[in-house]
């Protein structure tokens, strides 16, 4: 029996690759039950009155877009469908192109007007310090918006925002790591008594249980959360605009299940090889 160290791990890579490619190509999908966290994320947005100002912070980059972009897209659809007004900020330098392209695609569907229904403020460096600044004074954090380089007070939506967080009803963050949801809770959530929602990656999700529901009104955890949320958003978004995204997410969950089985099989095989190898030697 070959010892563990002689085994070429590239076989594992190959099988894992083929498994995922095969299942994705097959594209089977099935709906998922919706968990409480997701339900409450959805409900928190849904219950806000028309025209409320919501701050959405994109705190991710392409690396985590796989997990967070579906949530971000769904959230924008949801907010615009409910006629909310969105102030978009980023604390990660690689996020602005994503937000710009999402808005460019989604806003026309709902006839949203730039500067009135949504505004992009762009990237602010400084990590948690930047968040603190946003909380203290949005105007001094962003003297100008980023898309058309207009001064703060020339933008109707920002004028309505004023200077404090007081006029902002809700803060939603798509958080891939540091800085992210934990920093928003510390810098803004705790100080200004603003309601917080978050979408996070799988790695971060366990950290959030402790904050729900007292400091966090709801969250979308990993691919599971995104799938469940898109199922809900599909009903409110403009005719079927997120249906394709939803089905993609659903089929991805099935691939996940099989990939997990494969991982467990690997562990079992690894142990069998280890023990048989040890006995024979």
């Amino acid at each position: 029996m070959a010892s563990v160290h002689d085994f070429d791990r590239r076989w594992i890579f190959l099988i894992m690759g083929l498994l995922v490619v095969g299942l994705v190509a097959a594209g089977i999908s099935a709906p998922m039950p919706v968990s409480e966290y997701v339900d409450s994320y959805f409900a928190t947005i849904d219950k806000l009155p028309e025209g409320s100002i919501v701050m959405v912070s994109a705190d991710f980059d392409p690396a985590s877009a796989a997990e967070l972009l579906p949530m971000y897209t769904g959230t924008i659809h949801h907010l615009l469908a409910k006629k909310m007004r969105i102030v978009n900020v980023c604390t990660w330098p690689a996020a602005p192109p994503y937000t710009a392209s999402r808005f460019a695609e989604i806003a026309p569907m709902y006839d949203a007007v730039y500067g009135e229904d949504w505004v992009e403020l762009g990237f602010l460096p400084g990590d948690d310090v930047a968040m603190g600044t946003i909380g203290q004074s949005l105007r001094s954090a962003y003297p100008r918006e980023t898309k058309n380089n207009m001064a703060y007070d020339d933008v109707p939506l920002l004028r309505d925002c004023g200077d404090s967080m007081g006029n902002i009803e809700l803060l939603i963050t798509m958080s891939a790591g540091y800085p992210g949801i934990l920093e928003w809770i510390a810098q803004v959530g705790g100080r200004y008594e603003i309601e917080l929602l978050a979408g996070t990656t799988a790695v971060q999700t366990p950290d959030l249980f402790a904050f729900y529901p007292s400091q966090l009104s709801g969250f979308l955890g990993a691919a599971t959360g995104a799938t469940q949320y898109l199922q809900l958003v599909d009903d409110v978004a403009i005719d079927g605009s997120v249906t394709a995204d939803k089905e993609t997410q659903q089929s991805r969950m099935l691939v996940q299940t099989w990939a997990h089985y494969f991982m467990i099989l690997l562990i079992i095989v690894g142990n069998v090889i280890y023990f048989t190898g040890r006995k024979s030697s």
Binding site: F209, A223, Q256
Partner: protein
């Protein structure tokens, strides 16, 4: 063909419009760089090297631009000379607010001037590597950030953190996430009051023993070593659980990659002749789409490369 599920009417060769159908030249680049990075799994090879060097160049440039804009233009140029900047305030004898505190504009100019001077000293490293001058801005940075982290982390991760632990005292069941966990359909646990108490005890025993593991300078008596052992067990279960929990997120990344590749197998991206309207594009058309074409090329080159030279540098 089962791969070409969604079909796009037509894709332009090059388009700067990022919201419409992706362009073919972009699709080729996209697929090439994706597959080139994946080829590293087989072994280090020219495709990966190319991708790596492009990535390093591009990544550096992207960040440099972001920080040029946000770290030099905004806090120096715009701050001093821009609309409503310090210079303008000096002429109108206004007041500059720094962190909410009113400062004379001349002072503000002097402060930022010192920053500029120190920044120049930092760049002096290029010309005089052994000079003492660059140490001054470095010293400022260390002082600022060390103090920021020391105070901030002690507050959030020590004082408040330890304080918050008592917010879920052992016997009070509605304060911790237990009952909330039961609502997750796949993560349900019956709301047994006593099991809850038991869990809390597990938590505190785990926490205290793991903390004990990090005691370094007191003599390891049998008791201390025993508690530390329990701590190690807690840590190992923690690591195993976190490892398992991360799998979901990591595989999601791979699935998304494969999904993206799949979307480029639509016949609109095919480099072959366009099919007549309403006709099945056929296998050849599919084979000529960027993902499949490029992967065939990469695999062929790598396979040939092995046949020609066995330089013993494969990373098995």
């Amino acid at each position: 063909m089962f791969l070409a599920l969604q079909d796009v009417a037509s894709a332009p060769w090059f388009s700067l419009d990022l919201t419409g159908t992706p362009d073919i030249s972009g699709a080729i680049l996209y697929c090439f760089f994706t597959l080139a990075v994946f080829s590293f799994l087989y072994k280090d090879n020219p495709f990966y090297k190319l991708a790596e060097h492009v990535f390093v160049g591009l990544g550096t440039a992207y960040f440099t631009l972001q920080y040029y804009d946000e770290g030099i233009l905004q806090p120096v140029y715009e701050y001093l000379f821009g609309e409503g900047g310090v210079i303008e305030k000096m002429e109108t004898s206004g007041i500059v607010e720094i962190g909410g505190y009113s400062v004379d504009p001349v002072m503000a100019l002097v402060f930022r001037g010192i920053a500029g001077l120190l920044a120049v000293m930092l760049v002096m490293r290029l010309f005089a590597p052994n000079s003492w001058m660059p140490r001054l801005p470095l010293a400022v940075m260390v002082g600022v950030y060390a103090a920021l982290k020391m105070t901030g982390e002690t507050q959030s991760k020590l004082v408040l953190f330890v304080g918050n632990m008592f917010k879920d005292p052992i016997t009070n069941s509605n304060l911790l996430s237990w009952s909330e966990l039961t609502a997750q359909p796949s993560w349900r646990i019956e709301n047994w009051e006593a099991f809850f108490v038991f869990s809390k005890i597990v938590f505190f025993v785990g926490l205290l023993s793991a903390l004990t593991h990090f005691i370094f300078t007191y003599r390891r008596t049998k008791v201390l070593a025993g508690i530390s052992k329990v701590g190690v067990i807690t840590l190992m279960i923690t690591f195993g659980a976190m490892f398992g929990f991360t799998v979901l997120g990591r595989i999601a990344l791979l699935i998304e990659r494969v999904d993206e590749m799949k979307s480029y197998t639509a016949s609109a991206y095919s480099l072959g002749p366009a099919p007549a309207a309403g006709q099945d594009p056929g296998v050849l058309s599919l084979m000529l789409t960027p993902p499949i074409l490029i992967s065939v090329i990469i695999i062929a080159v790598l396979a040939l490369g092995i046949g020609i030279k066995k330089d013993g540098r494969a990373n098995a």
